[in-house]
Amino acid sequence: MTQYLFRRILLSIPVLFGILTVTFFMTRMLGDPCKAILGEKATQEVCDRFIKDQGLDQPIYTQFVIYVKQIVSGNFGESIRLSRPVTTLLLERLPTTIELAMSALILAVIIGVPLGIAAALWHNSPVDILTTVGANIGVSMPVFWLGLLLAFTFAIALKDTPFQLPPAARISPGLQPVPFYEKWGWYVNPKDMDCPRNDTACVDEKSSWLREDSALFPLFQFIGYHYIFNSFITGDWKIFVDVVKHMILPAFTLATIPLSVVARMTRSSLLEVLGKDYVRTARAKGARELRVVSRHALRNALLPVATIIGLQLGALLSGAVLTETTFNLAGVGLTLTDAIKNRDFPIIQAFTVVIALGYMVVNLLVDVSYGFLDPRIRLD
């Protein structure tokens, strides 16, 4: 097992390096960022200064070395267009995508699996036909279209009913979630200290153990930006309800394709297992139907379903780009698309690396989980 993990990680290093290289050279091929950011009217002089400031006048291999150094140190520089550190942007926007993808995945599983089971148990019944037809429509539906239709239905057609849902953004304007570490007194915001300017003694006295310059602070920020999670653990129910409401439509939109795939897979896999000899044996020895299905059939049928859920993650990230665009959620997908359009090199480089890394880690976890789900599979 340890050996397998070690080998897998070793094997992924060249691929990761390939991704870094491809990303780097592809961003350089996107063209001159000056005109994209400063506008078409920027003079040559202004552009030259801009290129120099961004370090883009250096030889391409020097730039590549700088880029690799940045990745290793975790400092990705500053966004050209938004003039903010890329790391801060990542901490802020990655949680949106994570919460969106997780909600979609949870929806896909808690709806898709029971639907697939029902369709398989009542084979060729109306439930089965509806599930099969629905699953086929689900995979054929353009994500952005469904999103717009849902936005129209729940924001306009159902306006002023209890079903009204917000069509855009992540949280209602005016609401400001308080991060858990601030709420629990682990960190005191400098704004709340009433210290005179440059009075470090006062700041030191009022600070808690967690400070902005602590190495762990970005991690806490990252967790705190998961609005649903943060408002849940701090018990801030008003904000919790608001952010969950904002997440319902995007999560459903993103969930359609994985939901359909999961339902289809559960159905076909359970149908196959129900025809197996050991199910017949279970029935023959007089086990009740519920027990046959839950103990003998489902446990075996859900293994390929777990595989397919893991495989959906790539599609989920691609779908997140479209969902975030449709619902105007500032997540990784929307930020990255904007950055590509605007040739914002630092963002493209950093976000791609993080996505590719996350993708790899998830794939590895999926592979490792097989061993736990199915003891017959030995990883070596």
Binding site: L30, N136, F144, L322, T352
Partner: protein, 319 residues
């Protein structure tokens, strides 16, 4: 290879009478066709695809207007006019636009009808390019092996390491011009690794077979061996994969156009139409409803057709 994959057929053959055994066995295509016809989903998919093809071919006859004609000032209409169908209670003296008008005062129905041509072209050309590139690279990798194999297949791994839509967006961005052709090329590149893997595996499994060695001994060229010995062995998974990918290509191209990275005005591409009317979804939902519906129906047709083909060609393959 085909026969022993399908045990059901083998059983059936074993039960045949002596006269039946004297007649030649049913060809791959005939058994496939027979199995295909048994499945409702495949037939339904074929019907939908045929319908879209007919709409595309007869677009000039079917469409009441030109897809680019602006009707403001020519008729008593305003931009984003709501759909008007006399049968559903719209006054008969008003111009009948079944799907309403778009933001430039053009007839949505005509644009959607012409859009079928673009969608079909996108679906088939994208898969065609992808198939060509994937088969070429996969065959080279499998046949020559060694460092070339390593380089090509690691490159495929890198492509698969990105979420495909983001990579497609980046590829489109490299070129200065945004067009449907660039979007198609980008999608083709992003989807080629799956073909490369299939064909490479097939080459590797066949390379050492006696009949390939025999061909080589007879002096057949590598290309000839590839085309006549290796490809036929991989044709089933390739067809299945390609037929499923047509639907994906149509959907992805529409998505790229929706993001502004594909088809541009005034091309009546469905994703692009949706994107243009997107901001007005709350006041004029018909502008996005019909293009999206068209995308969905076309994709559904190809998905069902692909499913049916897969079941017919390779009953052993799972979902």
């Amino acid at each position: 290879m085909f026969q022993n994959r399908n045990t059901q057929d083998a059983e059936k053959q074993a039960q045949q009478t002596p006269e039946q055994l004297l007649t030649p066995p049913a060809s791959l295509w005939r058994t496939t066709l027979k199995r295909f016809r048994r499945r409702l989903s495949g037939r339904l998919g074929l019907a939908i695809v045929a319908f879209v093809f007919l709409v595309a071919i007869f677009a000039p006859i079917l469409a009441p207007y030109s897809p680019t004609e602006q009707l403001i000032g020519k008729e008593n209409v305003k931009i984003r006019e709501k759909p008007c169908i006399h049968l559903l209670g719209c006054p008969a003296d008003k111009p009948q636009h079944w799907m309403g008008l778009d933001g430039n005062g053009r007839d949505n129905l005509s644009r959607i009808i012409y859009g079928a041509q673009i969608s079909l072209m996108v679906g088939f050309f994208t898969v065609g390019i992808s198939l060509f590139l994937g088969v070429l690279l996969g065959a080279i990798a499998g046949y020559w092996g060694g460092w070339l194999d390593n380089v090509i297949m690691r490159l495929m791994d890198v492509i698969l390491g990105f979420p495909y839509l983001l990579l497609a967006i980046a590829l489109v961005s490299i070129s200065e011009t945004r067009s449907i052709q660039n979007a198609m090329l980008a999608i083709a590149i992003v989807t080629m690794p799956s073909y490369a893997r299939v064909i490479r595996a097939s080459v590797l499994s066949v390379k050492e077979m006696d009949y390939v060695a025999a061909s080589r001994a007879l002096g057949a060229s590598k290309l000839r061996i590839l085309l006549t010995r290796v490809l036929p062995n991989a044709i089933t998974p390739l067809i299945v994969l390609a037929s499923m990918n047509v639907a994906g290509a149509i959907l992805d191209a529409a998505a790229l156009s929706f993001l502004g990275m594909g088809a541009q005005e005034p091309m009546p591409e469905w994703g692009q139409m949706l994107s243009r009317e997107r901001a007005q979804v709350l006041s004029a939902p018909h502008g996005i409803f019909f293009p999206g519906l068209a995308i969905m129906i076309t994709t559904l047709g190809f998905t069902l057709l692909g499913d049916g083909l897969r079941d017919a060609l390779d009953p052993q393959l799972n979902d």
